[in-house]
Symmetry: C2
Subunit: 267 residues, 2 copies
DNA sequence: AAAATAGTGTCTATGAGACACTATAGT
DNA sequence: ACTATAGTGTCTCATAGACACTATTTT
């Protein structure tokens, strides 16, 4: 039986006399529980770049459903909790991450996406520098896996994950779609906004920044023009320091500064 | 009392024995109703461009809450209905629109956004040519209002609506935020994707296309370079026909064709 | 010295902005 | 003829890509 619930915007009970009562009286008489409601969860793509590859945090599911498959960190939204607050709480609870950059990505609401029932997932994207994930690795079943994207540019589509030995790891539910959407967002905003800096430590070399761009785009970028663009964008400030323990000429260290530059860039 | 509901990913009841039972048995025993759930609605920004201005469809609310204010068309998501299906249904029910382009925009979930209780709104953006809204105008309380955006570029922020006489019309709930997000999305995707064509009839002049770009960006664009870019993009095909009833030289009519060009553009 | 990567200078191709000019409709 | 807008040709400037070259570290 399909429940195309009639919106409570105009509930039957108060429709006739509704025009005369006050807003307070209306709200007091209003019972929202008359409509069947879905559950709402937040799922988070916690992304970083290390070893020249885009990586995300996943957990091996120990319970049904999708037992043995890998899932993005996530959980249900509290009834008095905003979506952003839920994402912040879940980042803390599930990945021990605080103060990291995150933003809402897309909402996945296909009726069959979770066998437990109607669960609508608001997906988030969190960006962290690789060293911030050292604590996560020790967490209960957590793994930081390489992402494989099989479509070019911002075409979109699912993405899959692999372990260090190149073995495919199955993702639970529709999490390959969520992951694909995250990569699409990253690729689309990479040039227009300074997202790449969120994936790097505070002090960085231009080479490391280029590695991040190449890992996200999945293809090489032109070195010369990349350096010029980055230095012209006004996001970088030379520290005067140089890289250490490189087996070749050490590169200049830069700091990310957004002096007066809006986020995203305003034209 | 704050209900930060413990995620049913690992429900207490089946935690101990969960590792031994089958997925079928787990799901049969699983009761999702133990957690308090929000309502989920879809709100739609139905946008067009006419008279050199970006316009959206709003309804004057006849009932509490926010009685007398203007609201975007919207309604609750059916328990077995996907989010896209809910948007399609609401476009048909509320604005008598079928077969129009629409996409998901952002999800608004602040706990206090609707005084009736916890209602999470998945916002959608629908783009229609101006003549498609002639039937909407006659609908119950519907109005097609000019949009005012007070921030430059893709900075983001709220947007407000005005009637034909320049009078400010108050928007209900957080609909000015939703509207602002819609404009931000339009501005961000205007150059990279052929969204502008969704706001125009099938046959169009370059001038009309430029008007759409200027209305969305909120500032003039360079005519010469705009013409070159549009003709080079491969989205336009000359019909050989010319504009009628213009009080000056009639412009060439073009048709939108996306021959082999992906949506959005793949590089 | 050899290897490897960092960083600079310069040439070329492309696309945006500017502007002058021509074309074609209504009045 | 006059006005208004459509549409073309060309110049300049900014930026991306390509490539040659120099610089500085480890081994």
């Amino acid at each position: 039986m399909r429940n195309v619930s009639k919106p409570p915007h105009a509930p039957e009970a108060s429709e006739q006399k509704g025009t005369a009562i006050t807003e307070e009286a209306f709200l007091a008489a209003y019972d929202m529980r008359q409509f069947e409601r879905p559950s709402v969860a937040v799922d988070i793509v916690v992304a970083t770049v290390s070893g020249g590859a885009l990586r995300v945090v996943v957990y091996r599911r120990k319970e049904h459903p999708a037992r043995g498959k890998y899932a993005l960190p996530g959980g249900f939204v509290g009834i008095d909790e905003s979506l952003d607050a839920a994402a912040r709480r879940l980042l803390r609870e599930k990945a021990r991450l605080e103060g990291v950059f995150f933003e809402q990505l897309y909402t996945f609401g296909a009726p069959g996406r979770d066998p437990r029932g109607r669960i609508i997932a608001v997906a988030y994207l969190a960006l962290v520098p690789p060293e911030a994930l050292s604590a996560v690795a020790s967490a209960h079943g957590a793994r930081v896996c390489k992402v494989l994207v099989e479509w070019p540019g911002t075409a979109g589509g699912p993405a899959s994950i692999f372990d260090e030995d190149g073995r495919y790891l199955p993702l639970a539910f529709d999490h390959s779609s969520i992951l694909g959407t995250a990569v699409q967002r990253l690729r689309a905003t990479l040039d227009a906004t300074p997202v790449a800096f969120r994936l790097l430590p505070h002090e960085l070399t231009l080479r490391a920044l280029q590695d991040v761009h190449e890992a996200i785009r999945g293809r090489p970028v032109n070195k010369d023009s990349f350096r010029r663009r980055m230095l012209a964008a006004g996001w970088l400030e030379a520290t005067g320091e140089r890289e250490r323990d490189a087996s070749h000429r050490p590169a200049e260290l830069y700091r990310f500064v957004s002096r007066g530059i809006a986020w995203p860039i305003v034209d």
